[in-house]
Structure formats: structure tokens, C-alpha cells
Point group: C2
Chain length 223, copies 2
Amino acid sequence: MSGDVGLYEGLTTTRAIRRFTDEPVSDEDLAAILFAATRAPSGSNRQPFRFLVLREGAEEAKALIGSTFRSSWAAMSRGQYARLTVEADPTSAAYRAGQAMQRFVDGFERIPVVVLPVFIPYRGTDITSGASIYPACQNLLLAARARGLGGVLTMWHGAIEAQLKTMLGIPEEAVIAAVIPIGHPEGSHGPVRRRPLAELVHEDRWDAPAPWAVDPPGTRYTR
Amino acid sequence: MSGDVGLYEGLTTTRAIRRFTDEPVSDEDLAAILFAATRAPSGSNRQPFRFLVLREGAEEAKALIGSTFRSSWAAMSRGQYARLTVEADPTSAAYRAGQAMQRFVDGFERIPVVVLPVFIPYRGTDITSGASIYPACQNLLLAARARGLGGVLTMWHGAIEAQLKTMLGIPEEAVIAAVIPIGHPEGSHGPVRRRPLAELVHEDRWDAPAPWAVDPPGTRYTR
């Protein structure tokens, strides 16, 4: 494990990992990342969630998710993501990103662990209820990084959520909040591309600039 | 700043901080925590959010939030939180927690920084849209910790959201996803109390035990 990364560095250099080696994820690593996930805050410290960890005994569910991800990506790669595929210059970074996504969906069933964070509603399911589960999902991804693992928060399961719930015995009223594959990264973590801070941060009033909100030197941007 | 804490330790020992010293938060610290916040994942890396940082020029908004928090806590401390106040043994930890909440709301306007993470809807505002803003909020709280600061994710602003949006010029369709006070902690971070892992983690099927999901020795539990 790469246990030496500092907190701040970890926050700023944890990437979405979509390529994994075949190495299994140990029980110890899983316990550690789930422990860290559940240290996150939730409304009134209620922890209105469960984490369903799909491993060897959940082949059918993993196959269903994999199959859906492949058809979702097939549609997206011709539609809103055509810039990463059919329209992309094969020597470009965009094309490589498209290829990485294709490999991710093609090999989905070989990813050793898939975590389903499941939200148990107690007062509706609007965006603010997400404050009681997505901090835990982020802790899970960061803890994976701390243990030398990696993962990605995916949201492509909407069309099969009801089917997955039936298959896995998840109560009807619960919400599968995400699908998070976890494994040993092929490739590495590092700086991520985001929008410039000046576009995202205001001081004291909407649209007012925050002159101090400056990206560090060397920051790479989206678009 | 306490820059030496490791990623994993930071994840498992970052507490909700509700007591702050009067020390101002520097521009450098703010830039660093907002940078870390915006490194979090969001759907399609779209970053459908802004962070509105309330400081000296937003006294009116801070007063409105403080006033609402005080009336919310006044009602809760007689209602669902009576176990922390009127019903609590004054020598108990529960009573001290209630007192800390009272101090928090009483001194709200003196907290140096209040961050409003604002979600800009692009495909509804159900719980899954929270996946595109609450990971950033968690990064913000963890980055505060890394910089020697602290904060707390609060969700008590629902009743004044419309009024706050008008006051601050926030677009009507946007959602104030939380209110996050930030400052230099009085007191310290450390292990948090949560539910036992065995109640929250399942393997391969709902309600099936995950025998490896064991809390580390010394873990403290809620309830």
C-alpha cells in the first residue's frame, strides 16, 4: 500500500481509476476502506445507508451491471461522447480517454470488487439527502487511494436499479446511490483536470470575484 | 497548519468542528481548500456547482443564517434533541454536546467563513444529483482539516433558502446544497463515533454478513 501520501496531496491527486489489474482486493483493505467511508458525516450522524460489497458471490449482479454499462457506453460513444470516439483524432488524449472507457466497460466483470452504496430514505430523496451518503462515497474512494487501490464513482445504473434491487434483495424503498468498482490500479493517481477556480468560486455575492481563488501553478484545466 | 496528517488518518479522524477561535482564515488557506474541493469527482466531470464564500462583505446573510440556526436549535433542543438538553444529566457527554450546539448557534456570526456550496441543476435535483456536489463538500472539510482548520456540514437552511438566494443574487433555479462554517478549531480533531461496521456492510446480498467488516480495536460507537 502507498500509505505515505498526505491528506492534502491525497485530496488533490485522487483520480477516477477505471483500469485495474487482476490482483484481488484483500479483506483487510476492504475493511479499512469501508471503515473510512463510514467515518464521513451524515445528517444528524444518522448514517442512513448500507454498503453492499459485490465480490465472488454476486456474479449475476456484476454481469447485469457490466452489460448495462456496455450498452450505455455504446450509445454515449456515438452520441454525447462522440468527441472521444468516432470524431476523435486517434493520436489525441480524447481518443485515449474513449479507449479507456471502452476497456472499462468491456472488462467490467473482471473488476474484483463493486460497491453499491445504498441510501435508506427517512425524509425524501431530494438532492439534500445526498449529503448523507456521497461524503461517505468520497471517503471510500480516498481511502482506496490511501490503501494503494483505486475506483470510480459511476452513475449509469438508473435503468437497471429496480432489477438490481430485486436480484440482490435490496428493499424497494432504498436507493442505489452509485456503483463504485474498486481494484488495484493499472496506471497511477495524479493531478486531475478541472475548471479554473475563478469560474467556480465567488466571494460574498453571486458572480462577485474571489480574487484569492487562484489555482496553483501547473494546474491543468478542462476545456 | 497540521500538514503532516496522512490521508487515511485524516479520513478517519476528521470531526465536525462547531467551536472556532476568532483567528481569521487566510486567503491562502481558503484558496487551498477550495482547490481541493473542486478536485472531487462530479458526473461527467461537469462540476455543476459554485462555492459562494461568505466573509466580511456578507454580514446580512450570515445574520440571517445565524438567526435561523438559533430558532431551529431552540425548537430541536426541546423536541428531538431533548436528550441533549432538558432531559440530559448535566454531567453527561450528551449534555456537553447540547451545550456545544448552543454555543455554535449563539456565536454563528463570529465564525470567520461560511461557505455555501451551490448546485446548478442540469438534469433534475434528485438524490443522485448530490453525487456531483457532496464529494466536493467532503473534500472541502477534509482539506480544511489538512490546513489546520475545521468545519461542519449543516443542512438547517431549508426554510430561508429562497430568502438567501434573493439576498445574495443566487439564481432561482440553483440549490444551496449546504451551509459550511469554517474556522480555526477550538478543540481538536480525533476519532468519531459511528454505528458498528457490521450494521452497515453486507457482502454479495442485502442483509448477508460481511465477516471481514470489523471495526478496528478501540472504535467508539453511537447509541
